[in-house]
């Protein structure tokens, strides 16, 4: 590779790909540039130095990957979507013997728990098995513990009450799912929810899927926005293959399917359903 001169981010990504199991070359330009820029500022290194350490220091690579992939998530982000799932969509799964869920890119897990709470309120929790995957070890550690800081301040209880039409300020239902320490603004997920989830480290960019089951629901919210359209389509293809027919795909509130994939899913409100019928109406 370049031994002298000014390096570009793209060249750095090539080095990273060569010297580690990680490939960020299909991430969207703007987001990846900004993240690498932040790593350089935080570590006080130039791109060349970043490159040098990436070639020789495996632990450093892991740190960089953590910094590049960190994302925020919250309980019941976009309450309207959750309300739709609860009232209109998930009840249609009540005839199933079991409900397999793949939560792809679960980050620190708040939305995995949000989904399980919906299933429990619908009386379907016993049927549910969740595979929750993410590239970040640190995020998965947080997700497994299910202990979150500063969520009350960010309105998690209001979001929760909005979804379930509970009077504002009433905490009784929320307390069925979380131990709450208001003084330190800390909430802890109760064990009966945590035991339903298998957390698995997995890089969505890679082709394998880390479990064998087909799934009824794929949850992948605000993850595809970090990828370019080619990679988005590759991953949506994998979701399509992994879903049972008529299975559900839930994306972020401002994520959509592009091109050909619009014809392979039916849109229902904010969710997509796998379809084997070829649609030309788009």
């Amino acid at each position: 590779m370049n031994s002298c001169g000014v390096m570009t981010y793209k060249e750095y990504l090539r080095v990273l790909k060569q010297h580690s199991p990680y490939d960020f070359s299909d991430y969207s330009d703007n987001s990846i540039y900004r993240r690498i820029d932040k790593v350089m500022r935080d570590q006080e290194v130039t791109l060349e130095q970043l490159c040098e350490r990436t070639r020789h220091d495996k632990d450093f690579v892991e740190q960089v990957v953590e910094a590049i992939t960190v994302n925020t998530t919250e309980l019941f982000r976009d309450p309207a979507v959750w309300k739709y799932l609860f009232e209109k969509h998930l009840p249609s799964l009540s005839g199933n013997n079991f409900i397999n869920v793949w939560h792809a890119g679960c980050s620190t897990g708040q939305e995995v728990y949000s989904l399980l709470i919906l299933f429990n309120e619908l009386g379907l929790l016993d049927k549910v098995r969740v595979f929750a995957t993410d590239i970040s070890r640190n995020a998965l550690d947080v997700a497994r513990k299910g202990v979150y800081q500063n969520q009350i301040d960010r309105g998690c209880i209001e979001n929760f009450n909005t979804v379930f039409d509970i009077t504002s300020g009433d905490k009784t239902t929320f307390l069925n799912y979380f131990d709450v320490d208001e003084k330190h603004d800390r909430i802890s997920v109760k064990p009966f929810l945590k035991e339903k989830i298998k957390f698995i480290r997995h890089d969505l960019v890679k082709n394998d899927v880390p479990f064998y089951n087909k799934v009824d629901v794929v949850f992948c919210r605000n993850v595809l926005i970090y990828f370019n359209v080619n990679l988005q389509n590759r991953i949506v293809q994998r979701f399509h293959e992994g879903l049972y027919n008529n299975g559900t795909l839930v994306l972020g509130a401002h994520e959509g399917l592009s091109g050909f994939f619009k014809t392979k899913f039916d849109r229902q409100g904010p969710v997509y359903r796998k379809s084997n019928v070829f649609h030309l109406r788009y």
Partner: protein, 192 residues
């Protein structure tokens, strides 16, 4: 402005406290033939997630939409940064969204919208900062200026809250300091 010299590829308007009525006024007086893609990055209350786009559409003479990720910028269409997402303008004239950390206590952060547009379109970027009670936007707007783009700051004496324009003025000298009516005139001069 020597408009003959430039063909802008994007106009980015940022605003916070008090900016709804200014943006609404601008949109209501804009020429329906407005030829440039418009991006609106406005701070909004996180828990009031709907209604802004509808509110702006009531009076606007060009369509206002909340874009999906990777949606293409369109001439004469205003794209409003969705609540709780950062918005970036990309090289290929698409919008990308992100849920990374709040920046300047804000998501969307106006700095990100400005600086990504400056990065993508350089001197073909027109940035306008409006009233607001925050310093978000000042650095990003300076970024547009640094790339030889065109920058306009709302005249602080016409602002509900002048913190945001003042933070920009402290940082650099914009091309123009204008009242909302004058901003409308500049935008409409881009037609034809």
């Amino acid at each position: 402005m020597k408009k003959s010299d430039r063909k802008f590829k994007v106009v980015v308007i940022g605003g916070s406290a008090g900016s709804f009525s200014v943006v609404s006024k601008i949109l209501s007086q804009l020429d329906p033939e407005f030829p440039v893609p418009l991006v609106l990055c406005l701070h909004r209350l996180k828990h009031v997630r709907s209604g802004l786009v509808e509110g702006l559409n009531l009076k606007s003479r060009i369509p206002v939409v909340e874009p999906f990720d990777k949606e293409k910028l369109k001439p004469g269409v205003a794209m409003l940064a969705p609540s709780n997402y950062h918005l970036f303008v990309e090289f290929d004239s698409t919008i990308s969204l992100s849920t990374e950390e709040v920046y300047n206590h804000s998501r969307p952060a106006i700095d990100f919208a400005y600086s990504s547009a400056a990065y993508a379109f350089r001197e073909k970027t027109l940035g306008i900062i409006l009233t607001g009670a925050n310093k978000d936007g000042a650095r990003g707007l300076k970024g547009i200026k640094d790339k030889k783009g065109y920058t306009i700051v709302q005249d602080p004496s016409t602002c509900d809250v002048e913190t945001m324009p003042q933070s920009a003025l402290k940082l650099f000298e914009p091309d123009q300091i204008l009242t909302p009516d004058e901003i409308v005139k500049v935008l409409n001069s881009l037609v034809g």
